[in-house]
Amino acid sequence: MTELLGIFSYAVDLRFIFLVFIGSLSGLFVGSIPGLSVSMATALLVSITYSWQTSDALATIMGVYVVGVFSGAISAILINIPGAPSSVVTTMDGFPLAKKGDAYKALIYAVAYSFVGTIFGFAALAVVAKPISAIALRFTPMDYFLLATFGLTTVGSLTTKHFAKGLISACLGLFFSMIGIDSVMGTARLTFGIYDLQAGINIVPALVGLFGFSEVLMVVSSSESKEEVNSVKYQKIPFKEIMKHFPLSLWYAAIGTVIGALPGAGGPVAAFLAYSQSKKIVKNPSVPFGEGAVEGIVASESANNACIGGAMIPMLTLAIPGDAVTAIILSVFYVHGLRPGPMFIQTSGSMFHAILAGGFIGSIFLLLLGLFVAPRISKVITVPKRILLPMVTILCIIGSFATNNRMFDVYLMFFFGVLGFFMRKRDYSVAPMTLAIVLGGMMDSNFRRAISLASSEDAFMKALIGRPITILLIIFILITLLSNSKSLKKFLLKRRMLHASNG
């Protein structure tokens, strides 16, 4: 009951609603324009909302996040280029359907089931966050360290083709997070005599560089191609026909929520999984999958939007972000002096309500903007890159300057932008690095605390890794590492072939 009252208090706050609307409107454009990403917009927003009240910042960011993830589907349907990675699967049926002259129908299905997915994800967050927090209260410092390590290894395995490169990206992030004055001993660490580094690497310029400026360089470095835009003509689609897929969409949304809660997996994985599920479940789609089946759009959009609420679960209860955007949102909490974790709902209940209210209100704006504005923005999504990129560059620079009013942060942003560019060109995902920069300080302090606590016990190893939760986490990490090991896979394949030839 208190949860509902808390959410309701934000839902009737006109200022809060207005800020969610502003975020939603920005999310609609940012998500639908290929080359601009939700992570980039959120990173920029962190710098703009730096001095705002936390609830105001969260309102805007939740609007961008919820509507931004959906609006990737607009360009996926209209120009066959997903505006966000999680909309890749939507192109498979959305674009063929639009080519048949049914762009409006494809958009309406995407809007309706993005809404269903988002609501499902946030409802799941509201229901399971408290029980998970209760379990997390039993976690020791070693468990936190291992949980963050597990998060980094899964992100490393899911965001790049080469596992080693994913882990190297995470190591680099951890390295950057170590720079500055050590929180335990007060010693300057890895600053190499540079005074400005003593305060550490500020997360905002690092994020703006990795997601904003590196994206600008990525787009500049690739030749621009002319996009074919499908026209959107109004069609009357019976409500009953749209809602026909509702029961199945709940299953896809459940998949999305669970996948979203796994650190690093995120929207693209959820959408692919849900899509493959729908191919198995739906025996008689409207047209074959891949040729414009609305069932494909339903699966992809329900799952990728449900990921939003799912990704929030580990971020709020364990301080382990589920994806790059939640890593950035986690930094918003840190910037505003809040500490997500098992005690978060108890100590900062109103912020938890603000997130839920932001998500629910954002999903209503998703519905309204999706139904009334999305069909009319086909011109906007093809804004030439030559117009867009210079402005984004300026926003990256000013956004990173605004955090501390110092030019050093702008140089940091430039450094991370160039680094992010080369990493992406060489197939190193920047997501593990982002997560590592955010989590590094927590991992360091918890690891040292765990070692200190265990060293005062008689049985050092038992105290360090002897608890059931700790053992379980170690097993999870080992499974992630071994299941991604190419040598092990080769060895198992050889053994199987040997068995086959002997048998």
Binding site: A164, M178, D182, I387, V418
Partner: protein, 150 residues
């Protein structure tokens, strides 16, 4: 396995060597700084960097192994080198000179330069966007958000 060195293979080797050197340097740094600090390992600020370095070591070796097994004709990711360097260079120049010539002038100049370089030829639009966008950003950050822009 095919032998010979393609561009992709050379870059892959360089990557592996770079991270191997980073790992070794971080081990050396952590050890030397730790012993100079005269603290126990359990409290040492260099314990975690050492852990990262030890983790990076096998990963860099895995990269080298991957580079070794790359085929001679493996494709190398191509990109428009000149465009990237020029846009990056213009941005860096902007960052360097902004404190001297003020935000408004520097931003208008950068926007005009980037619009022109990236191929926009509608001069009126360039003028309107450069001045308009700069003033809007100035109004939002300097006036509304009280960010002291240079």
């Amino acid at each position: 396995m095919e032998t010979g060195f393609s561009k992709a293979k050379i870059y892959a080797y360089l990557e592996g060597i770079f991270f191997l050197l980073c790992s070794l340097a971080l081990i050396a740094y952590s050890l030397s700084e730790h012993y100079a600090a005269h603290v126990e390992w359990k409290q040492s600020p260099y314990l975690f960097p050492l852990l990262i370095a030890f983790f990076l070591l096998p990963l860099s070796l895995a990269l080298l192994r991957q580079a070794h097994s790359l085929k001679k004709d493996s494709p190398n990711p191509e990109f428009l080198f000149r465009d990237t360097v020029i846009v990056g260079g213009m941005t860096l120049l902007y960052i360097v000179i902004m404190p001297y010539i003020t935000f408004i002038i520097a931003t208008i100049l950068l926007l005009i330069g980037l619009f022109l370089y990236l191929g926009e030829r509608r001069y009126v639009l360039i003028g309107v966007l450069s001045v308009g966008f700069t003033l809007i950003i100035y109004a939002i950050f300097d006036i509304a958000l009280h960010v002291m822009l240079p």
